[in-house]
């Protein structure tokens, strides 16, 4: 545990050193990046030891804050969340070092690195905290640090608005967490987590209230649908390495929070909790991916895809709760393991996708898919990385994305096979089936439109692969995905990981399943390699020329005639029209010889523009009426005093005895 504290210290001091470096950007970046990488690696050591040994390590310090005590511990659940957190933090720090260099002139790079390291430190604290006050302080400091990172480029109005929405959403979310820990603290008599775990007489109503508060509070951070509104605003606004960290890891802390609360309320759950999570998960998944299909900005699309993935995880959790309550140990444990695996996989995938999007932004200056195209020709490495990640997130076999969803679905099917809680299984299967198809559509669209074909606009023609540091990061992450994909089945058949993920042993003999799956993955990889060799062999001797693409008789095909992102997604979106509102701007062709015409279509998030905007406007108007009270005449002010006095005197003499 001292190593973890040392790591936190390193992160803090390097952040302050970065600020002290002030205007000298190189020193600030060097301090920040080295601090982040050193801190992360230092912290990884105790985490790996806990994962290997499976026994938690704890540390405690008295703290003069009311109700608080500096109590931290790493147990297998925390360790599981720390691995992607620290890994991604180190990698994005290296990437960010080069990425922010472009902004050297505009503003000093000290504060961004301070907030980056502070964000990493507070995220680590959130995961290891075992006292409510420490947890809440780390939670809100994490939100504040990430707010400053999101509004790094606050000269742009859109970034400022996104930052504001983000801060308000996270603060209101924390209000629910305050209530949650007040309720649990009251029931347990103390704010320490292990006292909360052993609440003897937790009444069902109290447990339900606590659960609902946790779902709303942590759901806001996890980006589940009714509370997801800030995510598609904040993540695209942030610099890419920050949005990689936010989408990859910070969103998962919401999931961690729900898991921890379920741990605290263990034993007093009820079945409908699982149903609620499945419902939220299904809606988040479907709505998230449909909105992603409607977006024309690459980073917004990736942000919405995060909403979808947290939906998947929520469905996994829901299934595990339903399985747990209706007495289905291995259905619960399969879904639980699937959800945890998806947390790790998605952190890796979404991190790489955002970094690749950042490389495209860094090179071409835009992430608007309607103007990009043919980027792969000048950025082969980034294209390869993006394709690997897209294939993995679409759950294609040889890669790691597939294993997570396999476990969740296996849990659902296990429920069906045992004829128990089949409806929950059915709901998850239907939702996951549809979502998997749409995810494939979304990411083929993203990769195809941005990287393949011809550039649709002058801006997309320039740009090359990012500088070596960023390129190495992309390659390392892509390599990690492939290696993890191939190695995961074998690793899962080993007892170590099974204990961490609490995988069931016995009825569906999990070890055999993963051994066979590993074999299948290896076989498929060999087949791929063989087919490629065969193709090369066949073409070796033959004439390979190049000729224009088949244009079906068009005289002069221009790149503008290519399928755009919105036209590719139009058939699906028209199917789900009521769910996703498309705002269409048409400049219709005028006159017999139209000079120009334009059509732009963008998916508008009804939650933000309809529900929340209406609520806030109504609140503003409603409260505005009371502003008349302060209208400036002193006579009325004195009258207010007199009226209050008379009212209180009447209350004092008549009402209260």
């Amino acid at each position: 545990m001292p190593l973890l504290l040392l790591a936190l210290g390193v992160l803090a001091t390097s952040g302050l050193a970065a600020v002290a470096a002030g205007r000298r950007a190189e020193w600030a970046t060097r301090a920040g990046v080295s601090g982040a990488v050193l801190g992360s690696t230092l912290a990884l050591v105790p985490v790996i030891s806990v994962l290997a040994s499976g026994s938690p390590i704890a540390f405690e310090l008295p703290w003069s804050v009311p109700g608080g005590s500096f109590r931290i511990a790493i147990d297998p659940l925390s360790a599981w969340f720390l691995v992607p957190l620290l890994g991604l933090a180190a990698v994005t720090a290296i990437y960010g070092g080069v990425y922010l260099a472009a902004h050297r002139g505009e503003r000093s790079l000290g504060p961004p690195w301070l907030f980056f390291n502070a964000l990493v430190a507070t995220m680590v604290l959130v995961v290891v905290a075992r006292n409510a006050v420490l947890f809440l302080i780390a939670w809100e400091c994490m939100a504040v640090a990430s707010f400053f990172l999101v509004t790094f480029d606050h000269d742009r109005e859109a970034v400022r608005k996104a930052g504001w929405i983000y801060l308000v959403a996270s603060h209101l979310g924390t209000a629910f967490l305050l209530a949650l820990f007040a309720v649990l603290g009251h029931a347990a008599g103390s704010l320490d987590f292990e006292r909360m775990e052993r609440i003897a007489d937790l009444s069902p109503t109290l447990a339900t209230v606590a659960f609902l508060l946790a779902v709303v509070g942590f759901g806001t951070k996890a980006g589940w649908v009714p509370f997801h509104v800030w995510l598609p605003e904040a993540h695209p606004a942030a610099p890419s390495h920050v949005s990689a960290l936010l989408s990859g890891v910070m969103v998962k802390l919401g999931i961690y929070g729900v898991l921890r609360t379920l741990g605290l309320l263990a034993g007093s759950e009820s079945a409908w909790w699982g149903w609620l999570l499945i419902g939220i998960g299904a809606v988040s998944g479907l709505y998230g991916i449909l909105c992603a299909l409607g977006q024309t900005d690459l980073k917004r699309m990736l942000a919405y895809s995060t909403v979808e993935n947290t939906g998947l995880i929520a469905m996994g959790l829901g299934l595990s709760v339903v399985g747990g309550v209706t007495g289905h140990p291995w259905m619960a444990r399969l879904a639980h393991a699937g959800a945890l695996l998806h947390v790790l996989n998605h952190a890796l995938l979404k991190g790489l996708l955002f970094l690749a999007a950042g490389a495209v932004l860094h090179a071409t200056g835009t992430t608007d898919m309607e103007r990009l195209g043919g980027v792969a020709k000048r950025m082969p490495w980034t294209a390869a990385a993006f394709l690997t990640a897209s294939a993995a997130i679409a759950a294609l076999p040889p890669l790691n994305g597939f294993v997570g969803e396999l476990l969740i679905l296996l849990g659902a099917y296990a429920g069906l096979a045992a004829h128990e809680s089949w409806l929950a299984g059915l709901a998850v299967i239907a939702a996951l089936g549809l979502i998997a198809g749409l995810v494939a559509l979304a990411f083929t669209r993203a990769f195809g439109v941005v990287f393949l074909g011809e550039p649709r606009d002058a801006s997309a023609r320039c740009g090359a692969d990012p500088p070596p540091a960023m390129r190495v990061v992309l390659v390392v992450l892509a390599g990690a995905i492939v290696v993890l994909g191939m190695a995961l089945p074998w690793a899962l058949s080993s007892p170590v990981l099974q204990s961490v993920l609490d995988l069931p042993v016995g009825q569906p003999d999990v070890a055999a399943v993963f051994a066979r799956l590993g074999l299948a993955f290896a076989g498929f990889a060999v087949l791929l390699f063989a087919a490629a060799l065969a193709r090369r062999g066949l073409l070796a001797g033959r004439s390979v020329e190049s000729g224009p693409t088949w244009g079906c008789g068009f005289l002069r095909p221009t790149p503008r005639m290519q399928y755009t992102a919105s036209s590719f997604a139009e058939p699906v979106l028209s199917l789900f029209a009521p769910l996703v509102r498309m705002r269409r701007q048409i400049a219709a062709p005028q006159g017999p010889f139209p000079l120009s015409a334009a059509l732009a279509e963008r998916a508008v998030d009804p939650f933000l523009s309809v529900i929340y905007a209406v609520i806030f406007a109504a609140l503003g108007r409603g409260l505005g009426w009371f502003r008349w009270l302060q209208q400036g005449r002193v006579q009325l002010y004195v009258l207010y005093i007199a009226v209050t006095l008379v009212a209180l005197l009447v209350w004092a003499t008549r009402v209260a005895p």
Partner: protein, 491 residues
């Protein structure tokens, strides 16, 4: 020792009226502030002996608020030296309506400032209810001329409203004191003297119906001075029109003194077993203040009025904390400490912004981080403090009050409290974030304004104190807070 605490500022104040040259007068101001702080520190280490048969004595709540007033006055004095140096003599154009106006002669301003400190000290040390009343009335009279520093019609209007509303309020407090003395007149033996210790000792024999009416009158009287809604009407006008130094002192220290008045009355009622009854009154006022502050903070366009309404909100939280009783009293006192430091820091920072941008409209101020980096950082830190976000101290106190509300099973109060805090956060963040971020408009002054040392030092020091309080409460302060909470009847 106590008399020294009172006499030093009074004499310096009177001397300041006489001093013609401004440089020695400013030195006197800072000197008096330093001496007062030194005396307070000494009083903290070794509580001084009561004076005047116990009428003036320093008990834990008094010491707490005295220390706060002293620290704030020191910071304000240092800031004032820089501020007065920059305020050029003669007539200048008003930046809103462009008419010409002259400032109040500096001697009057400095003198009144020192008298203001003296009166606040009197309130902090007084144990006798009438002396307490005299002290609070004196604070009003000492601070009225301070509001009228910029001699133009808006600040005159603010001064008149301040005088009229507060005087009526405090008149009611006097009536309340008389009701208290009626309650203390035991039919048989001779009446209990209006000393706090005596009243608490003989609390059982006090006639409860007069005591109740007395508490109501004292609550309304001192509540007006404290800024509880709907008696708060003078507060936004006074704070937006007076110079930032004065609004910092008023928000940070004066409201606390009025709060001390309410606490004294609450102590007596608590001893007489009316704690529950008074608690409901205080809780009502607390929630009503929070609601009203939420109404006026949402869509507020003047950032000094924004801070004023935030003061109304925090006074509401204090009243709610004391009203709930139990561990919430400790939370309320900790909240008072945090609020005083935070509000003083914010008003001083607002002064810097006003000096550079020459406007009080929120939407006309942009990119403070670009023009005045340190002030911008302080402004952002201030937003985090007053909205109760960690790593600053107010989060702890607000969470303690919430836990107390939940522990007493008052779910409705807790829910309403959280909802109102949420709405207030939206109002504050909309206004204050817009000012700090973005491109600064083309300013007449230096494009990259230099943060003067004197203008930024005091608020930065207060900010540092807040950051420390957020993470670690020094043991001595913790002991003092617990003693004060115990004096207020919490277990």
């Amino acid at each position: 020792m106590l008399l020294a605490l009172l006499l030093v500022p009074t004499l310096c104040g009177l001397a300041a009226f006489g001093l013609r040259a401004s440089r020695p007068r400013r030195a006197l101001l800072v000197l008096a502030a330093l001496v007062h702080a030194g005396l307070t520190l000494a009083a903290w280490r070794r509580p001084p002996a009561p004076v005047w048969q116990g009428s003036l004595a320093l008990d834990p709540p008094g010491l707490l608020f005295l220390a706060l007033t002293s620290v704030l006055f020191l910071a304000a004095a240092l800031y004032a030296v820089g501020y007065l140096a920059r305020e050029e003599a003669g007539r200048r154009a008003d930046f809103e309506e462009q008419f010409l106006f002259a400032n109040q002669p500096e001697a009057v301003f400095t003198g009144c400032l020192l008298l203001f400190l003296a009166t606040m000290t009197l309130v902090a040390v007084s144990q006798h209810f009438v002396i307490l009343w005299i002290g609070i009335e004196a604070t009003t009279l000492a601070s009225a001329p301070l509001i009228y520093f910029h001699r133009q019609h808006r600040s005159l209007e603010a001064t008149w409203k301040y005088l009229m509303v507060c005087s009526v309020g405090i008149g009611l407090a006097l009536l309340g004191t008389f009701f208290l003395s009626v309650a203390a007149a035991r039919p048989g033996a001779e009446p209990v003297p209006l000393l706090l210790s005596e009243l608490m000792a003989h609390a059982g024999e006090l006639e409860s119906s007069w005591l109740r009416l007395g508490f109501v009158l004292l609550l309304v009287g001192y509540g007006t001075k404290m800024g509880l809604a709907p008696l708060h009407t003078w507060l936004p006008d006074a704070h937006s029109e007076s110079p930032s130094v004065v609004s910092a002192l008023m928000s940070g220290a004066l409201l606390n003194c009025a709060f001390l008045g309410v606490l004294r009355a609450y102590q007596v009622c608590g001893a007489a077993g009316l704690a529950r009854w008074c608690g409901t009154l205080l809780t009502f006022f607390g929630l009503f203040s929070l609601a009203l502050a939420a109404v006026f903070l949402l869509g507020q366009t003047d950032y000094k009025r924004l801070l004023a309404y935030s003061s109304v909100e925090h006074m509401g939280i204090l009243a709610l904390g004391v009203g709930l009783g139990g561990s919430a009293t400790f939370g309320a006192l900790l909240h008072a400490v945090n609020h005083s430091l935070a509000k003083a820091m914010l008003f001083l920072a607002a002064g810097n912004i006003l000096g550079m941008y020459r406007t009080k409209a929120v939407h006309e101020v942009r990119g403070v981080l670009g023009v005045l980096p340190v002030t911008g950082a302080l402004w952002l830190a201030g937003l985090l403090v007053i909205t109760g976000s960690p790593p600053f101290g107010m989060f702890l106190s607000e969470f303690t009050i919430l836990r107390a509300a939940v522990e007493q099973g008052r779910g409705g109060v807790a829910a309403l409290y959280l909802v109102l805090l949420g709405v207030i956060f939206v109002g504050l963040s909309t206004a204050m974030l817009g000012m700090v971020q973005g491109q600064p408009p083309a300013l007449a002054g230096a494009p990259r304004g230099r943060d003067r040392w004197l203008a930024v030092g005091p608020p930065a020091a207060l900010g540092l104190g807040l950051l420390v309080l957020g993470v670690w409460i020094p043991p001595t302060l913790d002991a003092l807070l617990r003693a004060a909470a115990h004096a207020l009847g919490s277990p």
